[in-house]
């Protein structure tokens, strides 16, 4: 077995393609990222950069016409990319749980909220203690306890149907369901993007409290730089199917190295900001026919002659403390190689 860079999750060289009528979409082009137990990693980037595909790959939820063509997904020493569907089901929902952007759409519309959570707990237990008679009353207790922890009154909530919930309440139910198995990793795909800022703040606060209690690591997918900055310990910046920069939240926001990260941070409006917003020239490339070499080179203000032929790899930025894990995939920082 290979050495894992992070003791919880280590994604290396992950490539995913989607075979469409228009051609093969090279959605992920060798994604590299890793995290330890209890850490919070934010994956940021713009629409179509591969954030969600990365998250779905970890759950092995990439379906036809998509396919993982190469790469490894090490999770606590096991390569998820090579596990059988049966083995995966003992991990999904139990060791790795997931919440989504549209909480109401993610819930079963014809089943009461309480029953859905109980069903979920039952599924997890069935694989854990096979053969034993399920104790339904104990499951209901867990469900009620979880609803309480996410700030909902179980007596009022357990008999509601998803359409009777507001977006914020539905996301709380999703969180209750996801954390009821005390997962080691929670994947949150844009958990607050559909919510108002006030509700977003409530949900982030709640997640913050709960994952600290359960020591759950979080892989947070978001396009909101503010959410990533406040919630995460580490950040991975993605562009056109690659992680272009990775490091501690401080190192990414205070000392961004990759030209794309710099451009992205300069485009974010901020309360109290007085200077003009800077935009990144050009548009996001078509991943059916991505640019050669560094996929950012057509838009890069610092491009060098080799950038359109050679592909940069994610390497440690040498000037910073190792604890920051600051890595960048750009030739500007790889002169010595």
């Amino acid at each position: 077995m290979e050495q894992q860079r992070g003791d919880l999750l280590d994604i290396s060289g992950l490539r995913v393609v989607f075979n469409t009528y228009a051609g093969q979409v090279k959605a992920l082009n060798g994604v590299e990222l890793w995290m330890n137990h209890g850490e919070r990693l934010g994956v940021v980037g713009e629409t179509g950069c591969g954030k969600s595909v990365t998250a779905l790959s970890v759950m092995r939820l990439i379906e036809e016409p998509g396919e993982i063509t190469s790469g490894a997904l090490w999770f606590e020493g096991r390569n998820l990319a090579q596990l059988s569907e049966n083995d995966l089901n003992s991990i999904r929902g139990k060791d790795i749980a997931m919440i989504f952007q549209e909480p109401v759409a993610a819930l079963n519309p014809v089943m009461k909220v309480g029953a859905q959570i109980v069903e979920n707990i039952e599924c997890q237990r069935r694989s854990a203690d096979a053969g034993q008679i399920p104790d339904k009353r104990a499951f209901s207790e867990i469900m009620r306890d979880m609803l309480g922890r996410v700030g909902l009154d179980w007596q009022r909530t357990e008999n509601l149907y998803p359409h009777e919930l507001s977006g914020g309440m539905a996301q709380r139910v999703m969180i209750a369901m996801a954390l009821s198995s005390k997962p080691k990793l929670l994947i949150a795909d844009e958990p607050t993007s559909a919510l108002d800022v006030t509700i977003q703040a409530q949900i982030l606060n709640l997640l913050n409290k709960l994952v600290r209690e359960t020591q759950t690591a979080v892989l947070l997918i978001t396009h909101a730089m503010g959410v990533a900055a406040q919630f995460c310990d580490f950040i991975a910046v993605m562009y056109a199917g690659n992680v272009v920069e990775y490091g501690s939240v401080q190192s990414i926001f205070r000392n961004p190295l990759h030209p794309y990260t710099k451009g992205l941070l300069n485009a974010v409006p901020k309360i109290g900001r007085t200077d003009e917003l800077q935009s990144i020239p050009g548009i996001v490339p078509d991943l059916i026919d991505p640019p050669s070499g560094c996929r950012f080179h057509p838009r890069c203000p610092y491009r060098k002659p080799d950038c359109d032929t050679l592909e940069p790899t994610l390497r440690a930025a040498k000037t910073e403390p190792a604890a920051d894990r600051h890595h960048v995939a750009c030739f500007l920082y790889q002169n010595d190689a």
């Binding site: 396009h223 974010v268 901020k270 917003l277």
Partner: protein
């Protein structure tokens, strides 16, 4: 209340109301959703008037009532000193050209079966009765202005990206040489790097064409970047309005203050989210008694539950609807 009638006010809105009737069934008495309830404000020429609030606060309805895209229930809207709510259809048509709207979703706001030239040129035909040749030239000019190319004239909306579609929507509004544009969440559907381009362009266009904007958004950072004056809406009412600095630096309403605090700043910091706004925006059908914000307000006292606060001017031009404004 701002009651200036001077000529530099392009739009003066007073006691504007829009109620929607909802019935449980055919025979029940209607209940009213007070989407816009007694809103008064003025918009100065060549300024950006920002309207901010949570979903369901009535921002979008306010914008649409101003343009008479939906009919108001009461109140008046003086556009250039003419009450446009009392105009008949023919009189209104003259004003339609001067007031335009750019809406949030560039995927739904453009007719899918019309080419760009038709989308943009249609207004010219209706309002100016121009020759085909003249329309052609004007469409070409406006496309270059918004950063598109001539060859885009004969393409359909589905061939464009979100940012490009929003450029088409901007071109369609601008080509009629309007004075007032309602921007309803113009960049909410776009990525940040595209948002930056569109916002900068809107700023430049405003300068070049002496435009007046009403910018409706839920994003306070966008308001701070674009607006000169800001109104904060809650359950159909304007609870605070004033200059941008009044709102962000001399915040008077507890709701505004909590709204600002709930935005996560895009730089890592240890001290974010000390204050959390509890609860959710209540149903606009059964809005709370007294001050509508009292169930969520950390400063609420007895009087807030029973008496609706008056609109008070804490400083010239800075009005707030609260019994106990902050900083006083």
């Amino acid at each position: 209340m701002q009651s200036s009638t001077s000529d530099d006010m392009l739009l003066q809105v007073s006691h504007l109301q829009k109620f929607f009737a909802v019935r449980k069934n055919l025979y029940s008495k209607p209940l009213y959703v007070k989407a816009v309830d007694d809103c008064s404000f003025s918009i100065q020429r060549n300024t950006v008037f920002g309207v901010v609030g949570e979903s369901g606060s009535g921002k979008t309805t306010l914008g649409r009532v101003l343009l008479r895209l939906i009919e108001a229930t009461g109140g008046s809207v003086l556009f250039d000193n003419t009450d446009i709510l009392s105009l008949n259809t023919q009189e209104l048509r003259l004003f339609r050209r001067r007031m335009q709207i750019i809406s949030q979703d560039p995927y739904n706001s453009l007719h899918p079966r019309k080419v760009v030239k038709k989308l943009i040129g249609e207004g010219l035909q209706i309002h100016f009765q121009l020759s085909a040749q003249e329309i052609d030239t004007r469409v070409r000019d406006i496309l270059t202005l918004v950063g598109l190319r001539e060859e885009h004239m004969y393409r359909y909306p589905h061939e464009f990206s979100g940012g490009q579609r929003q450029r088409i929507a901007i071109a369609r509004a601008l080509v009629l040489k309007p004075e007032f544009i309602v921007l309803d969440e113009p960049t909410s559907a776009l990525d940040v790097s595209v948002q930056a381009i569109i916002l900068k362009m809107l700023k430049d266009l405003k300068k070049d064409f002496a435009l007046t904007y009403m910018l409706i958004t839920h994003d306070l950072a966008v308001i701070d970047y674009m607006a000169d004056y800001v109104a904060v809406m809650y359950l159909g009412q304007i609870v605070e309005s004033g200059s941008k600095d009044d709102i962000f630096k001399r915040t008077a309403h507890p709701y505004t203050s909590l709204l600002i605090d709930s935005v996560p700043p895009p730089t890592p910091s240890e001290h974010w989210s000390g204050h959390i706004l509890n609860g959710e925006i209540p149903s606009p059908i059964h809005s709370p008694s007294g001050c509508r914000f009292h169930p969520r307000c950390p400063q609420a006292k007895e009087i807030c539950k029973t008496a609706e606060p008056e609109v008070v001017e804490v400083q010239p031009g800075h009005v707030v609807m609260c019994h106990f404004p902050l900083g006083s």
